[in-house]
Symmetry: C2
Subunit: 356 residues, 2 copies
């Protein structure tokens, strides 16, 4: 029961008979009206209590979401969308959880390099591994795409899918974010968790569409976001079917990129995995721009949303000047096309679950 | 109400008082017992009425399915599987609908060649198109993979995904099967429709995993099988994101194979699209063998099923000697490993919905 409701009940209980004045019947009428008001209060308060987005501050952005959901779920309304077509796609890094100080999958890769370094003694003197082992990010990033691919291959390929899944689950249950000193999965954005649940409660199917590795995300997305593996779209390496020495079939991860689910790859990934154009899409960078464009280019009601990281105190503030890069066109287009831009500072009451 | 139930009620209503004999109380007791028997009859008949697989004849195969579903859905039982993990995958051609006299997608491609031939006058003298236009299947199949790829490219690429979808929907609503003279979607196997619905009613998620084209199946699978596009895995061509001349984003189908979801490609496709090993898989050819092997190699309860086409009268009979080919290893392995082999003749009361 809300504080307000409790207060109203107290008002009724403490109502001095004399304040009502007049005859008994008038007092009874007044009391009856108050009881009705009270009953109305219950209904109203019950609604307020179940605000599906309690970590979102009231305002234009929150209203754009709740209005959209109301429109597409109003049976017989002009904008009604059948549940099967209520597809909502979410970027992951920077949209559902942070992407600073580096993409969390990068942190995983560097931790894996350190974990398997004893089996690779040559890495002590061999770049880019030496840089990782010495936490020398400057040298590492100077090695460019070639260096990062070498690290990805060393940590993500040459093993069965199930073995990789196990290393991901081990890491995600033990590793801690350097600034917040908490498991990475504690850092999922509370308002986005509420939004995912709210959409699902309204018949939406929620998908992750991320530039991140599909095999890196799937082991934990169901537990953390309520999004099952088959609703996770991401970048992938080639996987090959083999019959192992024991006669058992095995899926091996190979050292070859298969699909980059980023930028123009996101609509392609959506078409490939979902086969239906989303009616709602949520991103935070240029890597999400084509997904948002593709979503908005369909017919009927649609909504594109854009997270702007502007809260250095509670999370991070980065706009055009980030090593994450790729933050120019998306934000400009979101503003130009009046897509709701979420200011984390203004629109989110809490950012992380532990801040509630 | 079943005929049997109606008959039992009549028996009760017509029961001559004198036949009951003895005192009133004895007659009342007998009547009460009959009413209980009657009530029992209702329950029993209600159960029989709601047999979820009425087009499956009783026998070992049907029992293997209902026993498996009972085991994995019995909460607290040793073989209980949480709903999220109840993944069931089905081949399409030859498993959910026929694949004779040719794969239906082949019939679509040939019809498309004929439809767009007026815009390609050179085809009158150019193979393999000439063969298609003259219904000369012998010459066509003699053109081998190269010829079939040329036809696939001419009919499946060089257009936006949405335009292709439209051609598929137009075709599937008008084309008719040469033998049965009915729309192809009338030819989905009734017992498989019942099985899909039965599994979904028991918390399974049903997927198609087909060597057929993903963009060919998705436009109609939801309406025909109750399987939404995001639960259809298939072969695919490369798709590219472009911004069209009108400034609108468009996904273009290119003349390049991306993924063949057949044979060893099926477990790879399952891993890519679903990210979870099925616990039940259903196929009918060597192209499904690795999917069945992969399904059975997991831990916990699992079921692989194999359709054997042995009913020339109601459908087709082909075993080792079919132009569809690839029917050797799958059937042998199914028999060797005691996977239930469905004899269409023995196990299916009806094959097509119109035969019920």
């Amino acid at each position: 029961m809300s504080r307000r409701l409790r207060f109203r009940r107290r008002e009724i209980l403490l109502l001095p008979e004399k304040r009502a004045g007049g005859s008994l019947s008038r007092r009874l009428l007044l009391r009856a009206l108050l009881v009705f008001a009270f009953a109305g209060g219950v209904a109203h308060t019950a609604f307020a209590q179940t605000d599906p987005l309690p970590s979102w501050n009231d305002g234009a952005v929150k209203k754009s979401i709740t209005d959209f959901v109301a429109r597409v779920t109003t049976q017989g309304g002009p904008d009604f969308v059948p549940p099967a077509e209520r597809i909502a796609t979410f970027d992951n890094d920077g949209t559902l959880w942070p992407e600073q100080p580096i993409y969390f999958q990068g942190a995983f890769a560097f931790d894996r390099v350190k974990a398997i370094a004893p089996k690779n003694p040559a890495w002590k003197t061999q770049q880019p591994f030496k840089a990782v082992l010495e936490n020398d990010m400057k040298t590492l990033f100077a090695s460019g795409e070639k260096g990062l691919v070498a690290i990805a291959v060393a940590t993500h390929a040459g093993m069965p899918v199930e073995e990789f899944t196990k290393t991901v689950l081990d890491w995600i249950s033990t590793a801690r974010h350097p600034r917040f000193n908490r498991p990475y999965t504690d850092l999922v954005y509370q308002p986005m968790q509420e939004l995912l649940a709210y959409l699902r409660a309204n018949g939406f199917k929620t998908f992750i569409v991320s530039g991140g590795g599909i095999e890196f995300m799937r082991p934990w997305t169901e537990k953390v976001y309520g999004i099952p593996p088959e609703q996770v779209v991401g970048s992938s390496g080639v996987v090959k079917f083999q019959i192992g020495a024991d006669g058992k079939p095995v899926l091996m991860k190979e050292a070859k990129v298969e699909f980059i689910d980023d930028g123009p790859g996101k609509p392609v990934g959506i078409n490939r995995f979902i086969g239906r154009r989303p009616i709602l899409a949520f991103g935070n960078s240029d890597g999400d721009l084509q997904m948002l464009q593709y979503t908005m280019a369909g017919t009927g009601p649609r909504l594109a949303l854009y997270v702007h990281h502007d809260d250095a105190e509670r999370e991070y503030a980065y706009d055009r000047n980030s090593h994450i890069g790729k933050l120019d066109k998306g934000l400009d287009e979101a503003r130009a096309k009046s897509w709701p831009v979420i200011s984390m500072k203004r629109d989110w009451k809490a950012i992380f679950p532990f801040q509630r």
